[in-house]
Symmetry: D2
């Protein structure tokens, strides 16, 4: 492993946010229906999950290009956290998105 411990922590946070967003979008949100299953909310959850997955991938590849993707990942995680607060009953997802956004901002530095 060539990566610093700060980067390892950011990869952890990205992969945790990826897992929670994908899991909750495809089960919890679709089962609850209503605001939780509106296309815009599911699309944002799935997009957040994809960008977290891809930011982790670039850090693992060991290329300095991860910086820009981490900056973008922090933005989409904040948007996803806000939308999850709006629909409610998404506490785990809000927390994972906020933690990931904070880690990614440090990496984007």
């Amino acid at each position: 492993m060539h990566t610093s411990s700060a980067m390892q922590a950011c990869i952890d946070d990205c992969l945790r946010c990826y897992r929670i967003c994908l899991d909750m979008a495809s089960s919890h949100c679709l089962e609850l229906g209503g605001e939780h299953a509106k296309p815009a909310h599911i699309q944002l959850m799935l997009a957040c999950s994809e960008v977290c997955r891809s930011a982790a991938h670039l850090m693992l590849l060991g290329t300095p290009h991860h910086r820009h993707l981490c900056a973008e990942c922090a933005e989409i995680c904040e948007d996803c956290a806000r939308d999850c607060e709006r629909v409610g009953q998404m506490e785990d997802c809000v927390r994972a998105c906020r933690d990931c956004a904070e880690s990614c901002r440090k990496m984007a530095g």
Copy 2:
């Protein structure tokens, strides 16, 4: 399909660049060796391939968040095109990266 024809063209360009970067990195470059197989070159090719794949994914999801990822994709494609020109014998990849960068800049608009 909800997507405009400009977006369909950008998805096409992203997936073509993804294919060519991944194919050339894992076969052509590793077989040639030398500058082509240096970690920094392979890492950049694989990172470019991943970001193109992910930008296409966000456009397909139908979320407005694709804009930011397309802006980032244009940057990494330009960097990848330059590095491919430097090592040489990478004409297909240079062209796919430049085409994708141009499409992505329009989407990022």
Copy 3:
């Protein structure tokens, strides 16, 4: 490119099926609601999309391990085609899944 024309055709079919499944699941199906937006249908569409994406990836990498993933991709595409026929108004997706299943069976050989 080291890949045969049959493999190039299979990569094309996998990426087309990936695009259509992801696009229709996240927009068309969620907007229609009812049977189209039930968790099991959306999960199957997203799983089919992911396996097609990954089968294309293994073929692009140039490893003989694509065979096993292509066999699995053919199975999930057939299941997805059947479920899309059941819910109706999914003709494009049914066709893309069947075409991809046929290409993947040839590759799995």
Copy 4:
């Protein structure tokens, strides 16, 4: 979370194997050169990494189709472990592949 603790453990093992294979292929192996940087070895490492990533994705989606992909993931992890033993200096990767293969066989059950 709808997933059992056995499935959570398998997702953990798949994502750990994904991380280690991708990290070692793109840095450690390319830097060492020789047998470590031969196309067939790098391709197998990247393919193993992709299949682990995709098996985790299907488990997170909550679809029963993860079974077939887990069976395939166990196979490619065993092949990757054997090839890593052959080239040497890949102990972390051998262990992650073997652990992931064992978890995936249980899920494929």
